[in-house]
Amino acid sequence: MIGRIWAIALNTFREAARIRVLYGILVLVIGSNLLAVFLGQLSVREAGRVARDVGLAGISLFGSLTAIFLGVFLLYTEVQRRTIHAIVSKPISRWEFVVGKYAGMVLVLTVLVGVFAAAMIVMLGVQGAGVSSGVVKALVLSWLEVLTVAAIAIFFSSFSTPFLSGIFALAMWVIGRLTPDLEAATKFAAPWIQATTKLALEIVPDVHLFAVSGRTLDGTAVSVHGDFVPWSYVALAGAHGLGWIAALLALAALLFHRRDFV
């Protein structure tokens, strides 16, 4: 089982590594870090803060967009191009195929986030800001966010077209990110609006848990520039993400299992 999943994952990694858009995104992220250095020079004694904010925002934004892009295309093109015919006719379960595709995406996204993080750390070094444990935790949380978004995208891709899957996945990511704001915005709304919002937010992964810097947790303000969350929080957020990833992949596998490949 592991061997088959690994075979699909390696092949997916190889496939994704050929997508030129990824290299464009890489250039964009490195460019945004360079922009952070420039903006840092304009600010007074805030160069490190700007580099951290821009770097982490870049990882979250471009990492999640890349995850959506890969997730909606990699599974769909297997069916569309019929490359899947020579694969699922071999002794591999469809769920193993879905998990293998996801594992391949995890490899690609981990490399990408790693490169993004390396670029950010180099820029922080240039600014003389150094890398605090808060930055490391924030990077781990961003990586978990990207992996969760990838699972959302692959779930929609198991039954829909790339265009619709992209829209649905993007919507879920944005709503998940804005959950606390949406809850606050409906706090004084009519009860039915509150109930509807609550229900809608329940079926969306809480990706805001991975972007916690600047928010207040249990009455305490947390910031990557100062007091950040403890490792136990990172572990809990990771468990939450893994739960969603497992559930989304299970649903994707179930839907994929029922499909005819004509």
Partner: protein, 329 residues
């Protein structure tokens, strides 16, 4: 067996367990209906297909475009879920991963990852079959040589012609040294030499004890190498048996070629169903009822020299055309 007896029987007794063990493929009343979600239309791709394939046989599955050949094969390979009916592969009921581990499959117009080369494609197939790295390497080297792609082994599949892709597909299908080989249109896109090589490969596989099930449009290939044939049209099996059983032994007509001394051949073409007169060579075709001996005597008397006399029997192509034309809409 008469043609009528060889015609596919839509309903038949269930196959016993002992008999199933002797069969590589057993398909019983297989149906597949596609429904469009909103427009209440349905397309019946398979309408109760029933046949079986003995182990160690070469089985040809022929039919026109849209007959249901590829749907049957994709159903057997687990790509499509049947609407009804049952099927077993190597004694295992569908869907079966155990059976798929012993099967090699070449899809129709194969699409592979075009960034891989043939060795990497074989390696991927070997990994999915759970082969060890050493065995994957050895099998890939052997098969790449066998299908004649040694010189192109470093090229990405993107640069391959259709025929080369077909060969690459055959190589990946044989990585697991399968008991049953299922080939969907394996001769498609190949030149005459390539077709002969695939025919030879199929015969070689049969000689090695494998079962080969293949679909094709090329009836001469079917006649040349198959042990048994099934003709499918409009989602139903029309005939099933050995090529000899299926085609009628009754004389259909006689082709005669003579060399004539005079350009006036009107007397010799009387009663012929087809005439071709080029230079001093006259080719005529007579129906089965014509007294050809009397015609030959007349031709001799007119100074003609007999070059060739060929009795015509029904061919698989004749049968195919007739069965397809008679298939129920």
């Amino acid at each position: 067996m008469s043609l009528l007896a060889a015609r596919a029987q839509p309903a038949r007794e269930a196959v016993s367990c002992e008999r199933l063990a002797d069969l590589a493929i057993d398909v019983h009343e297989l149906t597949k209906t596609y429904r469009t979600p909103f427009a209440r239309t349905k397309v019946e791709a398979l309408r109760g297909v029933t046949f079986s394939v003995e182990r160690g046989h070469i089985f040809g599955f022929v039919g026109p475009n849209g007959a249901g050949k590829t749907t049957t094969i994709r159903t057997l390979m687990g790509l499509i879920r049947p609407t009804g009916g049952t099927a077993t592969l190597l004694g295992e009921a569908l869907p079966s991963r155990t059976a798929r581990a012993k099967i090699g499959f070449l899809p129709e117009s194969p699409y592979f990852y075009d960034y891989l080369n043939v060795a990497e494609l074989c390696d991927l197939a070997g990994r999915l079959f759970g082969l060890t790295p050493a065995l994957r390497k050895r099998r890939a080297d052997e098969l790449i040589e066998k299908v004649g792609l040694t010189r192109a082994r470093g090229q990405s599949l993107k640069k391959f012609s259709k025929g080369m892709l077909q060969r690459a597909g055959l190589a990946q299908a044989l990585m697991n040294d399968p008991e049953l080989v299922v080939l969907d249109e394996p001769m498609s896109g190949l030149d005459p030499i390539g077709r002969k090589e695939v025919r030879d490969l199929i015969l070689e596989l049969r000689d090695a004890g494998k079962t080969v099930f293949f679909s094709t449009h090329i009836l001469s290939d079917v006649e040349a190498i198959t042990d048994r044939v099934a003709i499918v049209a409009r989602g139903q099996l029309q005939a099933h048996g050995t090529p000899a059983e299926l085609v009628s032994k009754t004389l259909q007509g006689v082709d005669v070629i003579v060399r004539v001394a005079t350009p006036d051949v009107a007397a010799l073409t009387e009663g012929a169903t087809r005439v071709r007169h080029v230079g001093d060579e006259l080719a005529v075709t007579f129906g089965a009822q014509t007294d050809v001996d009397a015609w030959i005597a007349r031709a001799h008397a007119a100074g003609a020299k007999i070059v060739q006399v060929t009795p015509r029997h029904e061919t698989l192509e004749d049968l195919f055309v007739r069965e397809v034309a008679e298939a129920k809409p």
